[in-house]
């Protein structure tokens, strides 16, 4: 299928869904409106809300805050994950000692930490960053740990036979291997950074996309909730696209799934 037809079909799905939504929430079927506006609003109102946010410019501040929180959560969580992952993989004893605790913390639903972070770090951005970090850290940590552990024996021996010192092995073999595993989880970890930020905002804050949605919900402004959701989705898709670009640049050496370079 050509790109154009595919795109046309993809757009068609959206058009049909939105048209149905508009129709069912404004036109009565057998004397009954199937999607009562109080619960479902309608696409026109949602669009009007989005346009209002962008034309008045209020949305930029909230987007900026959420973006800052996500980036901070991603950077701090990744840095921590890489360091600890490397450390554990190179020191099996440390890994063995901490293993049950790592599993315990990772098993904890991170949402329950949000109130604690709000208490410790206040209602500003840092409590959201902290929540995002706890999500990102473990993904990166597990991947880097795996990446260092699963370096091919042969490649390692080859490095040694070529005369590499332990430090050079670190730089030329362990490090690239660990990074490649980390980058392969980039989509997930970036996604989780956004989740951490938005959930944190939702649970208590004064700005951000999560805050916008929570405020709208508080006054039963369903159009506002939907508008917030759409802006959030667009935001995540844009970030994801950015990640894809970065990934393509960094992982050129990796074979793609379909076998083409």
């Amino acid at each position: 299928m050509s790109r154009v037809t595919l795109l046309a079909l993809q757009v068609l799905v959206a058009v049909v869904c939105i048209a149905l939504w508009q129709l069912l929430s404004t036109v009565a079927v057998f004397g009954k409106i199937l999607l009562p506006p109080f619960f479902f609003s309608n696409p026109v109102d949602v669009l009007a809300q989005i346009v209002k946010w962008f034309s008045s410019g209020v949305i930029w501040k909230h987007l900026g805050i959420t973006l800052t929180e996500s980036i901070l959560a991603f950077v701090i969580g990744s840095a921590g994950g890489v360091l600890v992952g490397f450390w554990f993989a190179r020191q099996p004893l440390v890994a063995a000692v901490f293993d049950p605790y790592v599993k315990m913390v990772n098993a904890l639903p991170r949402v329950v930490l949000a109130p604690i972070f709000a208490l410790w770090l206040g209602l500003g951005i840092w409590s959201k960053v902290a929540l995002g970090v706890t999500l990102v850290f473990f993904i990166v940590f597990f991947n880097v740990y795996q990446g260092v552990k699963e370096v091919s024996r042969t490649v390692l021996d080859n490095g040694r036979m070529l005369g590499m010192s332990e430090r050079q092995l670190m730089r030329h073999v362990y490090w690239p291997s660990a990074l490649s595993w980390m980058f392969s989880s980039l989509h997930t970890s970036v996604g989780f950074a956004v989740v951490g930020a938005v959930v944190g905002e939702y649970l208590g804050s004064a700005a951000g996309l999560g805050y916008l949605i929570q405020q709208a919900e508080g006054v039963f402004d369903v159009a506002g909730v939907f508008a917030g959701m759409f802006v959030l989705s667009a935001f995540v898709i844009l970030i994801d696209y950015g990640v894809t670009l970065v990934e393509r640049r960094l992982l050129v050496w990796r074979p793609t799934v379909d076998g083409r370079g």
């Binding site: 042969t154 490649v155 021996d157 036979m161 070529l162 005369g163 050079q168 030329h172 074979p255």
Partner: protein, 272 residues
């Protein structure tokens, strides 16, 4: 004036501790000497420990008993005089062909420009001059072996250890690679220890063919000199009468070991 022996294994024994605590002796009392400039091939049935012996010469494995001497000095740690060509893919997948070859110079602290220039020369020497910027996954199996060969040779090791390097390749590519190896080797005649299970390949390439018995506790059970003329062409040399005579002679010895090794491996499989 006598030249020192490049690799000398004296009564080398290699043993591993198995998971259940038993000791498995892979190689027993191996006595093997490779002179400078000599091309020695080790042939043996599957699982006879010939790769193990190579790893001992490389310093990747320590013998349980006996000694390893490299140029008359006892080997401790890795063998710094040796280049090792692995059977499996050992290239760094995150480096281009050029960087994979240049790495040997990079880590010695050579200036980047010089490393790149010499790496490019070596890539051209193995026929991959135009593939410098490809990553390993974009190369065929044979091309990857060529890069690996350049990667090892650019460091100019005095000894070349090769562990069934062409094993995973198809028959024609193997012969082409064999000729390439002989051409490169002819330029400066390093000491080579070449492990293979293919007797024809061994005779076609080597000055001496060493036969190992089936494992465990395998030993060296034969040592033939190959006096075919050099430089050789692998395609031609297989038609030589002397080649056939030698092949028949060695095969008579090797055949029994191959059958023994095969019987053992099937029994082991049945026991499981």
């Amino acid at each position: 004036m006598t030249t020192p022996t490049a690799v000398a294994l004296e009564d080398a024994k290699v043993a591993f501790r198995l998971g259940d605590g038993r000791i498995y002796t892979a190689v027993e009392k191996a006595h093997l000497a490779v002179a400078q400039g000599e091309f020695v091939a080790i042939v043996g049935p599957t699982g006879c420990g010939k790769s193990t012996l190579l790893n001992v010469a490389a310093g990747l494995l320590k013998p349980a008993a006996g000694s390893v001497r490299i140029f008359d000095r006892p080997l401790s740690g890795l063998n710094r005089d040796a280049g090792y060509l692995f059977q499996a893919d050992a290239l760094f997948p995150w480096k281009t062909a050029l960087d994979n070859v240049a790495i040997g110079l990079d880590i010695m602290g050579a200036p980047r420009a010089e490393a790149v220039q010499r790496a490019q020369k070596w890539l051209t020497a193995v026929g991959l001059g135009a593939f410098a910027n490809r990553y390993p996954h974009m190369l065929s199996g044979g091309q990857r072996k060529r890069v690996a060969l350049a990667q090892v040779l650019i460091r100019d090791p005095k000894i070349l250890l090769m562990d069934e390097p062409f094993g995973p390749l198809d028959a024609q590519t193997r012969q082409v690679m064999g000729n390439l190896l002989l051409d490169l080797w002819n330029a400066d005649r390093k000491a080579v220890l070449f492990v293979t299970h293919d007797l024809e390949e061994a005779i076609a390439l080597a000055d001496r063919v060493v036969i190992m018995s089936a494992g465990p506790s395998s030993r060296i059970i034969g040592d033939w000199r190959v006096s075919l003329q050099r430089p050789r062409d692998i395609f031609e040399v297989r038609l030589d009468k002397e080649f056939h005579a030698l092949h028949r002679e060695i095969w008579n010895v090797l055949k029994d070991e191959v059958m023994k090794g095969y019987a053992q491996s099937t029994q082991a499989a049945e026991a499981v």
